[in-house]
């Protein structure tokens, strides 16, 4: 593709994306695709000859779009936010256009230095403890996901506790409500299932400190080594918050590495009034959050911070000859390949830098604060409505509730809303009971969308008919030229 073609097609695609984002609220939120629909519309073999870009873009509209669940819709309340934004999309475009490999400082110094720098900015932005800054023994890195961040934290902890040779007696801890990625990290790292202890949760879905204490005492008495504990700030299911400070005070004397998973809730720290989410972080070894969830940055972008980067680097560094270079040998630079599992890495700091500069601290504060207000307003309505029960106070952006009439009714209501295409919700279970989750954090979600969701829920609860939202024709306009 010549630069001129890239200009031409690029302009068209930018318009397409802008049109898409402008109109995404008109789509049924969840795709109506059945398994196999998308594949059935695609030719069985790759093309022999080149195809025009316009043909590809037509297929995006006719084949791909019907198979998309619109995470960027203002009516998307399912799972967790994945709130992209203009500056982030443009940062991703620039990253693809520069096409550099940031595996070593030497392979493109700006790729590493901008990342370190922006991650120091984020320490300011969220009010994180200084131990996570890069000018001391700690520092930050962008991982692809919170799952990978948790994995490398486990690997660093294992290294500090003696490495693979000493694994047999190591035990780790996380609550029953911790994200499945903690168990996955243990599995990947080669631990037996029983080496990750599941700590009970209290009535707020938070880790029970007394149970953690009992488990640690048992393990220590049996000669096992408590090498890792994960506390979650903002569990996926219900946004529960584990008592980070108390967990750290309990386990740090045992030499335990404390990791905090704030994948979903960490972004709240941009609002000074919400900085209680950072309580105790000055005692922990690592902490991560996902700008690709709630900080207007498209996937993938997880920020992982460690208090002591040497454990991480020692756990993951293997230097083949072809990557040796003067700057690395001199120890003057950071080589982020030693902070992650993959070797290669793209220039992900650009999108986070673009986002922070576009919004500024004030803008981010405004939007995150607004989401929390919307969630709290929604929760207040749930609370006083006899048809529903609030399952947990909405402290941040997630509202967990259920139908007063029981699980079947909760499930029926959720499915009715989702089937209408006018909003999308997801669910979890608390004490075996079905709980509807409304996660309010998409970039363009406003009061009127939350109002509409509330109306929909009421209609579904009352058994009133809901007019479905249908796939609009010829949309987005850019797709039609």
């Amino acid at each position: 593709m010549t630069p001129d073609d890239l200009r031409r097609h690029g302009h068209r695609l930018v318009d397409w994306v802008a049109d898409y984002l402008e109109g995404v609220g008109d789509y049924p939120v969840a795709s109506r695709s059945a398994p196999g629909d998308v594949r059935a519309a695609l030719p069985p073999h790759p093309p022999t000859s080149p195809e025009p870009f316009d043909a590809v873009l037509d297929d995006v509209a006719s084949v791909v779009l019907p198979g998309i669940t619109h995470w960027q819709s203002p009516d998307f309340f399912a799972y967790f936010p994945a709130n992209a934004s203009g500056p982030s999309i443009l940062g991703e475009l620039l990253s693809a256009g520069l096409g550099v490999q940031g595996m070593l400082w030497a392979t493109s110094p700006a790729c590493t230095e901008l990342e370190t720098h922006v991650l120091d900015w984020v320490v300011d932005l969220l009010g994180l403890p200084d131990r996570f800054r890069s000018d001391g023994p700690g520092g930050g890195v962008i991982e692809d996901s919170a799952s990978s961040a948790t994995l490398v934290a486990v690997l660093a902890a294992r290294h500090r506790a003696g490495g693979a040779a000493a694994m047999g007696e190591m035990v780790g801890y996380a609550s029953a409500e911790a994200h499945s990625s903690v168990r996955k990290a243990f599995t990947v790292a080669g631990f037996r299932d029983d080496q990750l202890r599941v700590v009970d949760v209290d009535e707020h879905q938070a880790l029970r400190l007394d149970h953690l204490r009992t488990l640690v005492e048992e393990d220590v008495a049996a000669g096992r080594r408590p090498f890792f504990a994960c506390a979650t700030v903002g569990t996926t299911g219900t946004m529960a918050v584990d008592p980070v400070r108390a967990v750290a005070e309990l386990v740090v004397p045992h030499g335990t590495w404390v990791h905090v998973d704030a994948a979903m809730a960490g972004a709240a720290g941009v609002v000074p009034e919400l900085r209680w989410v950072n309580d105790g972080l000055e005692l922990v070894d690592s902490w991560c959050f996902d700008p690709h969830k709630w900080l207007f940055t498209n996937f993938d972008c997880d920020c992982l911070y460690v208090a002591d980067r040497s454990a991480l680097v020692e756990a993951l560094s293997i230097v083949p000859e072809y990557l040796r270079n003067a700057a690395s040998d001199a120890g003057d630079v950071i080589d982020y390949r030693d902070w992650q599992v993959p070797l290669g890495r793209r220039f992900r700091a650009l999108k986070l830098w673009f986002v922070i500069r576009h919004y500024g601290a004030e803008g981010l504060r405004h939007h995150i604060g607004r989401h929390v207000e919307l969630a709290q307003g929604f929760a207040a309505r749930v609370e006083v409505d006899p048809r529903f029960e609030l399952v947990r106070p909405a402290e941040l952006s997630l509202v967990c509730f259920r139908a007063a009439a029981g699980d079947d009714e909760s499930e029926r209501i959720m499915h009715a809303v989702n089937a209408s295409g006018r909003a999308l919700l997801s669910h979890t279970r608390v004490d075996e009971r079905f709980v509807i989750r409304a996660s309010i954090g998409q970039t363009t979600t406003e009061q009127r969308h939350v109002d509409a969701l509330w109306e929909l829920l009421g209609a579904a609860a009352d058994g009133r008919p809901i007019e479905p939202r249908l796939q609009p024709d010829g949309f987005p306009p850019g797709a039609r030229g």
Copy 2:
């Protein structure tokens, strides 16, 4: 950012990227940045108020660009190719614009189905064995990197051999020239260092079958379990090719999982005459290659194929309640989160789909074939020039050579070329000796760039002065508005 602003800034950025790629050959290939230069040009704290996009783009030109080593330059011959292209950049833009999470089929069916479909296309395109197609027990997935592909292959193999509980007696094999990611995968997975046996290489840098046999026999005799073997097709150092078929024939009877790492060389299969790179693949359990290296697709995009997807899924699947859904429960669909370490995933199939449709099989064949011709032509010159020695025949895109006058001279010549900014080479060591590598695979590299490289090497060898290429002023034009 409003859709209108996104349009406006997006057009400007597309022009910027097109200008950049049009003129990237005018830049000194390697950045001249010293450690700390980039950071010193950035403000110490994040902005409080929003900043205009133009200011950000100005800083990209003045702060970021000088810190970039230009992997997209036609004069980039270092490390390995990372050859992006227009369609791939646009695919990445679309992926960012749609902003979907493809962790489950249900969270955006098109994201999963297009991936499965395009990976079946790639089986055709490269002439891979049918066992890798998704309509049988096998199938393909996009991982972020070959490193991650090798890791999940190790995890699947470990699962098949009895899982973590049986790890103690497991042993794996890879040659001394295998990529460092194999050792990293073993470390991550919790194996002791001695559980990955290093197999000697022959005079072609390929795995020595007799040594592998000896090691396997020793291990079996000692009651150890040969659970994994990695053969490399196209080693990073010298593009050496391990005898895949013979390796498989030797170890498969022991129940060993055979993984083939063709990260760099796998793309050669688009050219029918080069399909010897696929020899023996019908006997192996998994195979991966990097479209982000040599198939015009920007990082990250590694294609991993397995002959039996169940081992992979069983090794990695953990299903929390909030991700349960009817389609997954019915077993009708693929949930790619169970094929990788991270939970989240973006819509990476788009860029590969765009690339294949833009080039068509013929176009890809043409470009890959052209790179191989360029490399072979270059090697032929090296071979007859008394100042240089060819270290290995150039079968694919990499030429390995050295100065006849010895290591110091090789190193001096390489540094002289690199310091000129007119080309970038990297090195490895073979039998302790310094070897210069010229990897010829960038999208826009043509005969004249290879000719210029040859001129430069001659000048450096003869000690003639080389006029350095300087950072052009006010470039790319788009950056100046």
